[in-house]
Amino acid sequence: MSSRLDEELRRIVDEGAPPLTLDDVVGRPTLRRSAPATALLAAAVIVVIAIVVAAGVSLRSGNDVTAIRPGVVELPLSELPEGVSVRHVGWREVFVVRHRAKITVFDTDVHHLVGERGLWWCPNEEVFVSPTHAELFDRDGRAIGGPAIAGLDRIPTRVHGGTVVIGSHRLIPGPMPNLHTSLLGQGGGDWDSGPGSFCDQALKANSAARISVLYIEALQTLGFDSKEYSVPAGRLEIRYFGAAGIPFTFDDPKLRRQCELSARTTNEVDRCRVTLQPGRYLVYDPIGSHRAAGLEATIVATRR
């Protein structure tokens, strides 16, 4: 091809897609793929945040961290205590979780009602809880109770040598609850965090929603869909479905009386409610040799 055509080709690329700068990419917002409308809204919010941060506006005092460029902050790792602490990055209040040199930064959106952002860290129980509607999240930000529809959003962070760099105006969406354990809406509960815990008071005062749901599927191949299910200890609703004619119950006699289920179809759910203390519970199909053939599993209840 002639050098003139080569030159024209070069100009099409370089004029049509001009060079990117560091500010174009650092702290760049990432849109949620499954929800374009939400993504546009988030992008608009991020632009506003970027403008506010760029203008050096800080609405909070205390553990504020200064932005080194719009939306990006650095702080020495040595300043962060082991465990969970609160920081203000620009105007945003965040929870910083440190485990040795690993740093995770959580936003305080509890994924329930718009604008509901209050979040506490309960050191005894090792959970995050929202005092308004008692949304519960574990130390890794996963939703484990209450009406939250997703886990806590993370803020991208990297640690280099002795420095923590936080890109404060981009969010990594929190994980959705998995298939096996989702959460019911309002309900009673007996979650007790021990004397002197403000978390306990908040939960009781707000009638926390604390019934977990466990889905178990009976398979045609004479097995359950998993050999082990993990659930938070406390009230649990089991929803059982799948291959017709395969019953399900607990090995524990007391729990067996409360929960004997039978699968009918993949669309029809049989259900029961039990209360589990932390521990391991064997469940199985009581028909003849079905248990020996593989229709046996363990439910592991862990402290919330």
Partner: protein, 163 residues
């Protein structure tokens, strides 16, 4: 490592930041041109921005890779998959007349790999092995895409091989 005066920490911070900036200056044009060649002006530039944003966030991990540009090229490709933007080379707000008006359309009609080879080798003077390194395609395959792409482009422009 920790100096009570903070001097060492400051140096570390600045060297981490400097090394990413040096990488950015070197990688940005190569990455952007390769992705624009493959996916068009808008989508390619977006993919390059996504890839470099990932690079910033994972710099400690990326810095140890033997071929960091090739690595984040694949990140850019993955992150642009869900976008349904057309591959286009229409340069907006340009008042000058193009020397060869059919060139843009001819480019759009090439396959992604043919276009990548033609643009990077002819417009930007890359060696075949450089294209192979970034895109993860074998050198012989790049050569073959280049030959087919050039033949198709010449046919579209109605020019001979020696023009």
């Amino acid at each position: 490592m920790v100096d009570p005066s903070g001097r060492v920490v400051t140096q570390e911070r600045s060297s981490a930041s400097d090394s990413f900036e040096a990488f950015f200056s070197e990688a940005e044009p190569r990455l952007r041109r390769a992705l624009v060649a493959a996916y068009g002006l808008d989508r390619g530039r977006e993919a390059a921005a996504e890839a470099l944003a990932w690079a910033w966030e994972h710099w400690a991990e990326l810095a140890s890779k033997t071929n960091p540009v090739g690595y984040i090229y694949r990140i850019g490709v993955r992150r642009t998959r869900w976008r349904r933007m057309p591959v286009t080379y229409e340069v907006a707000d340009r008042h000058e007349t193009w020397f060869e008006p059919k060139l843009r359309v001819g480019l759009e009609e090439l396959t992604k790999r043919q276009r990548t080879a033609v643009v990077l080798v002819h417009a930007f003077g890359w060696q075949l092995h450089e294209v192979a390194d970034v895109t993860g395609i074998a050198v012989t395959t790049v050569q073959s895409h280049l030959d087919r792409g050039m033949a198709k482009l010449r046919a579209a422009l109605e020019v001979d091989a020696d023009e």
